[in-house]
Amino acid sequence: MLSAHVKDIDLEKLEKEIGQWAKSSSGRDTIQNAIREATEVVEKFREARFIDQKKLHEQVTL
């Protein structure tokens, strides 16, 4: 359980650790890549609202 790992955590120390990680290039890249991937998934969900039935039929090569 996640709660067991954060019990009595030193929040001031945590803030420093977050700051160091976020300033490192790997931390920044990790977040930016994850946001970009999430945005791409959502974009696919948004695209699903637009429908071209004619194109659908053409895609099946019988």
Partner: protein, 533 residues
């Protein structure tokens, strides 16, 4: 004088031999129909033992079709129907007669209610005899969900019975085709939810084609309705439908789209319409000829939490292993499984498909269904679609997972173990109403947030995103479903685990970290954590 009722034993023989004879007009071929086989199997699964046959039953939906079409046929079609009631206990005709005449034991209303499995109206037609059908869904067994069922009162000669279900009826191919039947089923629930008129199949077909006629005659309705007509039918009862493309040829995410959207709206008790192409593996040329429409009425959730990448997104809806649909050609609560089997059509390989219970032409297997369109019939005030909330929650999930990655790494935990801990985090996103949400909070008993939440003002429709760690709830994110998409949709957060929430709060103080989320769609959630201590 004809009897008012008969009591008979539930058996295969009844469905194959006696049922066609009940109705003087039904043709013998009726017994070979897939729908009768399905209904027999379904009732057998529900452990049905006894049938009460109620004669001279007047059914409103059939009556409208009768008045609009059958009454003007040269052949004298009957006006009245027959209703079959199903019970999971054994009793005799004498015992039932005794209950009606004298109220005598051993049969009582309470016993009948306990054993009641629902009813089927038999239309006096030659072939398409299955009219309004209200049967109990499959037992829930902590994995099946039928959030769209509603309680219906049934009066059987003055004996009040109740059944929780969503009505079903097959198309008669005269006043209704599959799309009309699916719409009729959906309106049975949305009518109750959003207080609109519940039109009969005849009315649905007539009004859907009023402003944009179909290319051939409306009645008899053989061609069915197009997606455009289905949208029109929904707008005729003042609903605002949204249309989602779930065709695998267009969108590789079709399975996730279908699962996430159907779960999110079904949990708000809103049934959806799905159209799909039927593919018969024994007849390759059948594809694209048959487009079929069904109403989605339930789902089954697997117990295993799916595993994703460390920063991936676990959605409860992705654990869906099957949906249940009212398929007017097969029956109510028909299973369609996400069984990962693909189909190949011509040169196009590995096309995503779902299982169906349509028999193939050679009767050796079942057809496959390639999803096409999902239609969600919404009340006009529900304006924020699922994907808007999905986007916010996905990005907030990255914040949470990044944060706990830092915490667990600082404790020298191995990367593999960190992944295992983070993979247990799962989001449950669905639409709900303020009343249902507050009733749920009230039912939790004493909590430190109870009073504040119950007394707070909220819009009628809200999106709820719950973060769960195994079996413990960590937090609820509440969003306004009635606002505009560019607005700040996040209303409040309920912190079930204060220590976990405080770590997020600490992270909001670190600008190098939090600034990356301020310029994202999740900024309103981050802002809330920063401002609420």
């Amino acid at each position: 004088m004809n009897p008012s009722f008969e009591v008979t034993k539930f058996s295969g023989e009844f469905f194959s031999k006696e049922l066609p004879k009940i109705n003087s007009i039904s043709k013998p071929l009726v017994i070979y129909r897939n729908i009768l086989r399905y209904l027999y199997g379904y009732l057998e699964h529900l452990k049905c033992e006894t049938i009460v046959i109620e004669y001279d039953y007047i059914d409103r939906d059939y009556l409208e079709g009768y008045a609009g079409y059958y009454a003007r046929c040269f052949s004298g079609y009957e006006r009245k129907c027959i209703r079959l009631h199903f019970f999971k206990i054994k009793f005799s005709s004498e015992e039932f007669q005794s209950l009606i005449s004298h109220g005598n034991f051993p049969l009582t209303r309470g016993i009948l209610q306990y054993a009641y499995l629902g009813f089927i109206v038999l239309r006096p037609l030659p072939y398409t005899i299955i009219g309004r059908t209200c049967l109990s869904p499959y037992p829930l067994e902590e994995r099946r969900y039928f959030p769209v069922k509603r309680s219906r009162k049934v009066s059987l000669f003055g004996i009040e019975l109740k059944i929780d279900t969503l009505p079903f009826q097959e198309q008669d191919r005269v006043v209704a085709a599959c799309a009309t039947s699916a719409l009729w089923t959906v309106f049975q629930k949305t009518g109750e939810l959003f207080n609109h008129h519940m039109p009969s199949p005849m009315e649905i077909t007539k009004t859907a084609t009023l402003h944009s006629p179909i290319e051939t005659r409306t009645f008899p309705n053989r061609e069915g309705l197009s997606h455009f007509h289905m949208v029109q039918a929904m707008q005729n009862v003042y609903l605002e439908p949204i249309r989602i493309n779930i065709n695998p040829l267009e969108n590789k995410n079709c399975e996730r789209l279908l699962k996430a959207n159907s779960y999110a709206y079904l949990q708000a008790h809103i049934p959806l319409i799905m159209t799909f192409y039927l593919y018969d593996p024994s007849d390759d040329k059948s594809f694209l000829k048959e487009l079929h429409g069904v109403a989605i009425t339930g789902f089954c959730i697997d117990k295993d939490i799916s595993h994703s990448e460390p920063f991936g997104f676990n959605l409860k809806a992705y654990r869906m292993s099957k949906i249940y649909v009212h398929d007017d050609q097969v029956g109510p609560f028909v299973r369609m499984e996400y069984d990962k089997k693909t189909i190949s059509i011509g040169k196009t390989k590995n096309i995503y498909s779902l299982s169906t219970q349509w028999q193939t032409k050679d009767e050796k297997d079942f057809c496959r269904g390639m999803p096409n369109i999902l239609l969600v019939p919404l009340y006009h005030k529900i304006r924020i679609p699922f994907e808007a909330i999905f986007e916010k929650v996905q990005i907030f999930n990255i914040l949470i997972k990044s944060l706990y990655n830092i915490i667990l790494s600082s404790k020298k935990m191995k990367a593999k173990d960190i992944k295992n801990v983070l993979n247990k985090l799962e989001w449950d996103i669905y639409l709900t109403t303020v009343n249902e949400f507050k009733e749920n909070i009230f039912s939790l008993g004493y909590t430190n947030f109870r009073g504040e939440i119950l007394l707070s003002k909220m819009p009628k429709f809200i999106w709820r995103a719950t973060l769960i760690d195994g079996k413990s709830t960590i937090m609820d994110l509440i969003f306004d479903a009635t606002d505009i998409e560019q607005g700040d949709l996040h209303l409040t957060t309920i912190e079930y685990d204060k220590e976990l929430a405080n770590t997020i709060r600490a992270a909001t103080k670190v600008s190098s970290f939090i600034d990356q989320f301020y310029n994202s769609p999740a900024s309103d959630i981050v802002e809330w954590f920063k401002n609420n201590k």
